[in-house]
Amino acid sequence: MIRNITLTVSDEEAVTEYIATQNQKYFDVLYTRYSSKIFGKCLSILKDEEKAEDATQEIFVKILLNLSKFSGKSKFSTWIYSITYNFCIDTIRKGKKDKSILVEDMTNEHDMAEDGIEDRFLMEMNVKRLKIILEKIPVTDKAILLMKYQDDMSIKEISGILDKSESAIKMKIKRAKQKFKRIHKENYAEF
């Protein structure tokens, strides 16, 4: 039954129906679609399965309690991923007590030249290598690369999530790619 609904109901319809009826089956639709993806993102950022499980649980509670605030201006997936990334970044920030975690690299925005690193370089990389390199780059750079290449978010969507200007986000992506390339070079010298 849930499988049938999962195939036919859009995210937005499931949200509307859940708000109107509080029927569990519509929550199940959203949970089935997104829980593993949210867990995957939490695991990528938090690097710990137990923490990722707890974060997934808290994020879903947050989503359910705030479902009526979803305005439909963005895609539902973008909305829940924004909650996910912000939750994970906040968790790390609290752990490190480092308030500068999100403002790093944002001060120098004048250098907007192309980075010269093709998207293909990142997207066609061996998954094992990709995982190792992502482990080594700072959490905000990792999050921004995941938003761009894993979630196919636009610059505008990312800027909305991180509450930064579009030019700042372009700069962030450029620097994240440069760090990615540098770590790749250090670890796999043949490149």
Partner: protein, 89 residues
């Protein structure tokens, strides 16, 4: 279709959720149920608590409709037995 290692990585990470899925779903349901319960309780008792607080602090509750009209006004049920023209009674 061009490959995207980021999507492959996502699938790989998601697989690790299989054994946790049921447990997390139950915990989410419990948490949301608890919050709804608290919300229902507040919705039920908050107005009472507010009026108790107002009374305790010396305020007056909402104005009650006067049950008895000392001036002898017409009764609300329309059965007014007073003479309409008192001087002609």
């Amino acid at each position: 279709m061009p490959t995207n290692s980021f999507k492959e990585l996502e699938k790989e990470s998601s697989k690790q959720f299989d054994e946790r899925e049921k447990r997390v779903r139950e915990n989410v349901n419990h948490s949301v149920g608890f919050f709804h319960f608290i919300g229902d309780i507040l919705e039920l008792f908050l107005p009472k608590l507010v009026s108790i607080f107002v009374n305790v602090t010396g305020g007056k509750g909402p104005v009650q409709e006067r049950e008895h009209d000392p001036e002898g006004g017409p009764s609300s049920d329309g059965n007014d037995l007073r003479p309409k023209y008192p001087n002609t009674h």
